[in-house]
Symmetry: C2
Subunit: 325 residues, 2 copies
Amino acid sequence: MNNAVPSLELVERVLAADIGGIARMITRAESGLEECRPAMAELYRHTGKAHVVGITGVPGSGKSTLMGKLTAHIRKSGRKVAVVAIDPSSPYSGGAILGDRIRMSELSGDMGIFIRSMATRGSLGGLARATLDAVDVLDAAGFDLVLIETVGVGQDEVDIVQAAHTTVVVSAPGLGDDIQAIKAGVLEIADIHVVSKCDRPDANKTIVDLKAMMTLGLTLSGASGWVVPVIGTSALKMEGVEELVDTIDRHREALESSGELIERQKRIAERRMLKTAEEILRDEFKKHRDGKVSVLIGQMMAHEKNPYAAALDLLAEVRLEGHRQ
Amino acid sequence: MNNAVPSLELVERVLAADIGGIARMITRAESGLEECRPAMAELYRHTGKAHVVGITGVPGSGKSTLMGKLTAHIRKSGRKVAVVAIDPSSPYSGGAILGDRIRMSELSGDMGIFIRSMATRGSLGGLARATLDAVDVLDAAGFDLVLIETVGVGQDEVDIVQAAHTTVVVSAPGLGDDIQAIKAGVLEIADIHVVSKCDRPDANKTIVDLKAMMTLGLTLSGASGWVVPVIGTSALKMEGVEELVDTIDRHREALESSGELIERQKRIAERRMLKTAEEILRDEFKKHRDGKVSVLIGQMMAHEKNPYAAALDLLAEVRLEGHRQ
């Protein structure tokens, strides 16, 4: 891990959309070191322009193939697009497609595509924090769309998906995904449904199932007036990708015109603030495990202090100064 | 909900093992109101004697039937036993068996059994906090064993199970529970495995599967020298319950003689302190949503302040005085 303090020079490189600078800044932010905070604070001032799209689907849903087509199609329209992949089963993470794509884009000198696979373990302070920091870096670097690819299970993943402006849930025929997605709690947060592999004969059943579920009111999207569409795609026949891009754009417009975008941004900001505060608290706890924390534990084990009183003492002891920039 | 401040009189009633007083104290603690805190702090001084056993298994595993037999058997040995059930599918929660049992024990004047079903939603500050408060009340009231019954899925449940001294995982033949339990992350935390319904012919396969998994090192228990046993039980043939009680007692002894009990108590105390601090933080966040929090949100949305800086401000603003007793 590179411990050097990210300089203002690195911030400048990110703002100038320099691919190497962006990659290095994300790596440093991923490490969660306090030294990165001034740079991240500076970059945050330049965020808020990108449209952030969460794309979620279980392994085997055809999500990764779709991501590739989607990215290429958005780029073709002249817009800059970045992908943050946190699916360990994704070929992006595996290295093959990812490596090829990055090399391709570097060789061609195309600064308009950036693909990043996040380490799913080892990030200090959690995957959600690291991922959203990466999104901030890419937003500040001027990418028009930032796509977050997740498998859509687990608390971290739900936190991440809830930080997107538009959420796309990918299901595939024959996987029983509808059930899996309900269990994972992602079906109801979809703004757009995609049924992949629509060249398969059983795809229609999945589409019908999803539409039936929507009729039951299980998939009402928050954006007033927005009717959650179900889009069939086929990588084989190259169908549906253009429709998906158009629909993402339409959703953005609906969010803006209904005023829902502001509401979503507000919820995202609230959630990030609270999650970050909890993370700082956990960091402090670890930092003082041998000091103040162990004194409090001793008092609890002697039954002099109950968990509530000990928690209050912990909060009072948090050395906020250490985090100040 | 009864908002009256729990008086010292109620604490006295709990310490005198008065069933009505215990029930009322748990209800008040469940509500999470700050007014309960002095009483809970006082009760905590009297905790630490009970052996806390987490019993977890998916619905259909035969766990609830086993709970009934287990409770009766422990009571027969002359010890006082309490059950805190947080499985919404449990007949305890359903009311039928629960109601009968409580009425039975009240009518017979037996103060040595107490069964409580926790509300799985609506508890302020989370189910885990409310459940562990209830365990504290029962511990202070002098119950020798406190059994926590859970379905063993979800973060709340894992938090609860990790607060037990001994964890029993119940599997049933033919349910595919082994897989389910692995997914839920509970198999590896078992100190004791129970395979229920051992009168069934396919029970042996489940036992063999579990033992094979242990050979793979997936179910090593933390207590040094403790070899995780697999116990077959049959409610039909009334088999295995006595062995289970003996094994729970043996595990307690192993924890004590190896020094592992202190280590577990320490981990439980640490975890409870941190979780409670996070809960206080979330409470403060909700409380100030229209005030300071909304100012910070405004600054974040104007991109003047990043989530990290806003989180630090939130932590600094926490009105700890409001929580002081």
